[in-house]
């Protein structure tokens, strides 16, 4: 029951965040959304992911958005009257069709929490059985992240490095050029 309520609250927050005219309020609601998402992930036993979302998702993303807002403008002007209805109608149509197709796709999915779902039968049992002996780490997520999929994490670091360079290049003052 609590899981259902949390998910419902997520939907309410998402709608509020995109409907809010004041951008600062929208960003704060997005922060609330991220924090509730962290709670949902704790409920799903994904504790490491919940930590990351609470610090990176709710913390750094909100901070970046506010920093961007401080260098631009706070209010949303809204669409022009002539184009507003046609554009949002087309968007609504696209979104509804995509959503319907995705919901049709879930009918073939294994049920939520099914221990015999294909995703839980391959590779994962091996990590759970052997990772402590092979890496000496008690947290399976850490073992996989830092050891088995270490190259993945290296790639992630490369992405952050590239993004950092992009941001520096984009925001460089003109006088330095």
């Amino acid at each position: 029951m609590i899981d259902f309520l949390l998910l419902l609250f997520l939907v309410v927050c998402a709608i509020a965040a995109i409907r809010m005219k004041d951008l600062l309020s929208a960003i704060m609601i997005l922060g609330v959304y991220s924090l509730i998402m962290a709670v949902v992930w704790t409920r799903l036993n994904a504790v490491d992911v919940a930590f990351t979302e609470a610090s990176v998702g709710a913390g750094i993303t909100t901070m970046l958005l506010i920093a961007a807002l401080s260098r631009t403008k706070r209010g949303e002007e809204g669409n022009r009257q002539s184009s507003i209805s046609r554009r949002s109608l087309a968007a609504l149509l696209v979104v509804l069709v995509t959503g319907a197709v995705l919901i049709y796709g879930t009918i073939d999915m294994p049920n939520f929490g099914d221990p015999n779902a294909p995703a839980n039968l391959h590779v994962a049992p091996r990590y759970i059985e052997k990772s402590h002996d092979e890496t000496g780490v008690e947290n399976f997520v850490t073992a996989v992240l830092a050891s088995y999929r270490g190259y993945d994490t290296l790639g992630e670091t490369t992405v952050i490095f590239t993004a950092g360079i992009c941001v520096i290049l984009l925001l460089r003052r003109k006088s330095e050029q």
Binding site: V11, A14, I15, I18, L23, A26, I27, L30, S34, M37, V40, L44, N45, A46, V47, T52, E53, G57, T61, L64, L65, A68, L69, T72, K73, E76, E77, N79, R80, S83, R87, A90, A91, V95, T98, I103, T106, I107, M109, N111, F112, D114, P115, A119, N120, A124, N139, F140, V141, V144, L145, R149, T153, E156, I160, T162, A163, C166, V167, L170
Partner: protein
């Protein structure tokens, strides 16, 4: 039918979240609103991914002597990486928005597009004027040559 709903309603809520973000990305004119939509879209995908790792009766994937069943650790690892990458994309997108705001003085897509169209029209007009001038100059040159011949 009830079994279907009980087993799948989580997925449907994730899809609803994802579509809310998707709608914001298409329909909202403000660029920051588009980024907010993108964030909602991304977290919905993460939520879907994490939910596939949940096993009924499983505990968190950390070694524990009383545990009978563990949740699948692999999706958690993948989503940890994805969250950090999503923050990087957000940062680059925001930097681009700041540049656009400096250049155009607005974050509204419609206004920026109109300005772009206005600029192309101006350039086309200027090109047209220049072509006319060239034609005039050619005509004058021919006249001058004819005059020169008649003088000879």
């Amino acid at each position: 039918m009830i079994e279907l709903i009980a087993g799948k309603y989580n997925y449907w809520i994730y899809i609803a979240l994802m579509m809310i973000g998707f709608y914001a990305m298409i329909a909202k004119g403000n660029l920051i609103k588009k980024i907010i939509g993108m964030n909602i879209f991304q977290t919905a995908v993460f939520l879907f991914y994490i939910s596939t790792s949940k096993v009924k009766g499983g505990t968190a994937p950390i070694e524990w002597e009383h545990a009978i069943l563990y949740d699948n650790p692999l999706p958690h690892v993948l989503i940890l990486t994805a969250i950090v990458v999503s923050v990087s994309t957000t940062a680059v997108a925001l930097a681009l928005i700041i540049r656009i705001y400096k250049e155009y003085g607005t974050m509204e897509e419609d206004v920026i597009l109109e300005m772009g169209e206005g600029e192309t029209q101006d350039t086309e007009q200027r090109l047209h004027d220049l072509e006319d001038e060239i034609k005039d100059a050619e005509l004058r040159l021919r006249d001058a040559e004819q005059i020169a011949k008649s003088v000879d």
